[in-house]
């Protein structure tokens, strides 16, 4: 929120016919570019990075969806892992097709999430966070103890791929999946259910006094979030064809949380921005070799200290700073400098 709203009123540009056209035009241009990216880039490696980005976007946004109910889960990486391993094991041991394993894995993950979420829903914020943290760690240990079923510590191999060798097909698949998931999550958040969830987050007393069943809504939020986490994980399993428990451990969850926080937890677009930035920046930092983690750390610090609302708030921060300067110039002008 701009601090200067009371002190200065600078009217925004009136909407002309021309400016009304600009927005949809930019959007259309964006859509075209994203749709044609595989052809524009011409590098399968970058396509690989983009595919991973899409997968993590789904996971990050679904993580944020859970947080709007006031709970802060620290097990999202583990739920991705549950989805991934369910799909992977079904594919490897039972030979099921990816078009079957992916939705099934997502559904089962949702079920597990709701089952676990039910007893955890009673816990207050911090305890919920830590309880889910331990649950997540436990899941990873269970995967590691899984012997030949899960491949144990060294991972699960031999998962069937979805499309031959071409990354382009995967790109469009995950693009479609991401768009559908984001739409679903967006509708969920701004639906009646979503509004109820936000009410609960703000005050449980008020919410229950209006007749909202707190526990049931919290479990629902966790279920929805876990469904998409499982979906992302299952898709990842069929893309990567190899799974490792270390990809879904506490550090993985923590980085998913970073994607959300860096982007901005209060905005729907926040996790999207955060994921893209935090995945692409280290790619450019490859040249730094062993110093590259420092770049991510510095980025975290910059956001923490300078951008409390995350990267999505950057445009409004810039605008506020700009209007500060204009106000300053105006006052200087008026006082006859």
């Amino acid at each position: 929120m701009s601090d200067n709203q009371l002190s200065t009123y600078i009217p925004s540009e009136p909407a002309t016919a021309r400016s009304r056209l600009i927005k949809p035009a930019i959007l259309a241009g964006l859509v075209v570019i994203i749709a044609l990216l595989p052809l524009l880039l011409g590098s399968p490696y970058l396509l690989h990075i983009l595919i991973l980005t899409l997968i993590y976007i789904i996971a990050a946004v679904s993580l944020r969806t859970i947080t709007i109910s006031g709970q802060f889960p620290l097990a999202h990486g583990a739920f991705m892992g549950i989805g991934a391993y369910l799909a992977g094991m079904a594919s490897k041991h039972l030979g099921w097709s990816p078009w079957l394993t992916i939705p099934l894995a997502a559904l089962v993950t949702m079920g597990i999430g709701m089952l676990i979420g039910y007893p955890f829903a009673r816990l207050r914020a911090l305890y919920y966070a830590l309880g889910s943290l331990f649950f997540g760690i436990g899941v990873v240990y269970i995967i590691q103890a899984g012997g030949t079923w899960t491949g144990g510590y060294s991972g699960l191999t031999g998962i069937h791929p979805m499309f031959g060798g071409s990354k382009t097909a995967y790109y469009y698949f995950f693009l479609g999946l991401a768009i559908v998931s984001l739409l679903a999550l967006y509708r969920f958040e701004f639906s009646r259910i979503g509004t109820n969830l936000k009410a609960i987050a703000q005050s449980h007393l008020v919410a229950s006094s209006v007749g909202i069943n707190e526990g049931w809504f919290r479990v629902l939020a966790v279920g929805v979030g876990c469904f998409f986490a499982g979906l992302a994980g299952a898709g990842y399993a069929h893309y990567n064809m190899v799974l490792s428990p270390a990809s879904f451990n506490f550090m993985a969850t923590l980085w998913l949380v970073m994607y959300v926080l860096i982007g901005g937890i209060d905005s729907f677009a926040g996790p999207i921005v955060g994921t893209i930035i935090l995945i692409l920046i280290p790619e450019f930092a490859r040249g730094l070799k062993e110093y590259s983690p420092f770049l991510s750390a510095v980025l975290l610090l910059i956001v923490v200290y300078l951008m409390p609302k995350g990267l999505v708030s950057l445009p409004s921060l810039v605008r506020a700073w700009y209007s500060e300067r204009r106000k300053g110039k105006k006052i200087a002008h008026v006082s006859g400098n």
Binding site: R124, L126, L130, G131, Y141, E290, L300
Partner: protein
């Protein structure tokens, strides 16, 4: 029979190790509500600084132990002033800062000393044999130091003015400051003590085992478990929680082979948390 005796011995010593490391974290978390996820990294840093002091200055490991505690304690002051104080109550930002601190410390240490296997000189030599039990003096010393520190901290929290102020803050931060307690100074002190304790633990375990840039990750999980089982506002609870976890970690590997032991230990912790989420000894905290 020898196995049972060995398991009981391991239980005591493992518990004391976990307690020493967790005490520092508990100070910031249970007393002030700050979850310092970087505690594992600070514990690691303490071990390395201890070794650096011994190699560079040539002092013996006991002097290094005390010096390291002071140096890392000072780092704790810096952390509290610039990283925790501005964001008290904002769980999200504290988590982000902790991750940044962890990454910086781990990467830094890895670049400087990551490729070598390093260890501090032992704090005691020899093996004590009492009947069927056989323990090295080194582990006894670690246990003793842990017990002494735990005793000192419990005395500090319950009997001194500072300790009582910390208890007040953990119960009601606003109320405490209204009573005239300088919350900032108490927080700084808690951070100093917390990080100093982590550093001592790092040196002790770095002497008994070895140092590694990522040794903190493993300890962080144990520490979180102890802090949660103990509960907010409680230091004495760390003792019981430490015993519980020490028992699990010394008995389960004997009974169950391989990776399943870890899964069961965490499973038990999750169940305990569900039974009594606010911990067994503390009180509930709104956060």
């Amino acid at each position: 029979m020898a196995l049972v005796v060995a398991t009981v011995t391991n239980l005591l010593i493992l518990s004391s190790m976990y307690i020493v490391v967790a005490l520092g974290f508990a100070f910031l978390f249970n007393m002030l509500g700050i979850p310092n996820f970087a505690h594992g990294a600070i514990y690691m840093l303490g071990g390395y600084i201890g070794l650096a002091l011994i190699s560079a200055v040539g002092i013996n490991q006991w002097v290094a132990l005390i010096l390291t505690a002071v140096v890392v304690g000072a780092f704790g002051l810096f952390l509290e002033r610039f990283c925790f104080r501005p964001f008290v109550g904002d769980f999200n930002r504290i988590v982000m800062i902790c991750v940044a601190v962890i990454v910086i410390l781990q990467t830094g240490v890895n670049i400087i000393a990551g490729t070598q296997i390093l260890s501090l000189p032992p704090f005691a030599l020899g093996i004590l044999k009492v009947g069927p039990a056989s323990v090295s003096y080194e582990r006894i010393v670690t246990f003793a130091i842990g017990a002494v520190l735990l005793g000192i901290i419990i005395w500090f929290v319950n009997r001194t003015k500072w300790g009582k102020q910390m208890q007040a803050i953990s119960q009601d931060r606003l109320g405490a400051s209204l009573q005239g307690i300088n919350v900032h100074r108490v927080s700084a002190l808690a951070s100093f003590i917390g990080c100093a304790l982590a550093a001592i633990a790092g040196c002790l375990i770095g002497a008994y085992l070895n140092l590694g840039p990522f040794m903190g990750d493993f300890m962080l999980v144990k520490v979180l478990i102890l802090a949660i089982l103990a509960g907010a506002g409680s230091i004495s609870g760390i003792f019981i929680a430490g015993l519980i976890l020490g028992t699990l970690d010394s008995a389960l590997p004997v009974l169950i082979s391989g990776a399943a032991g870890d899964a069961i230990a965490v499973g038990i912790v999750v169940v305990l948390m569900l039974i009594r989420p606010q911990g067994f000894f503390g009180h509930e905290v709104e956060m």
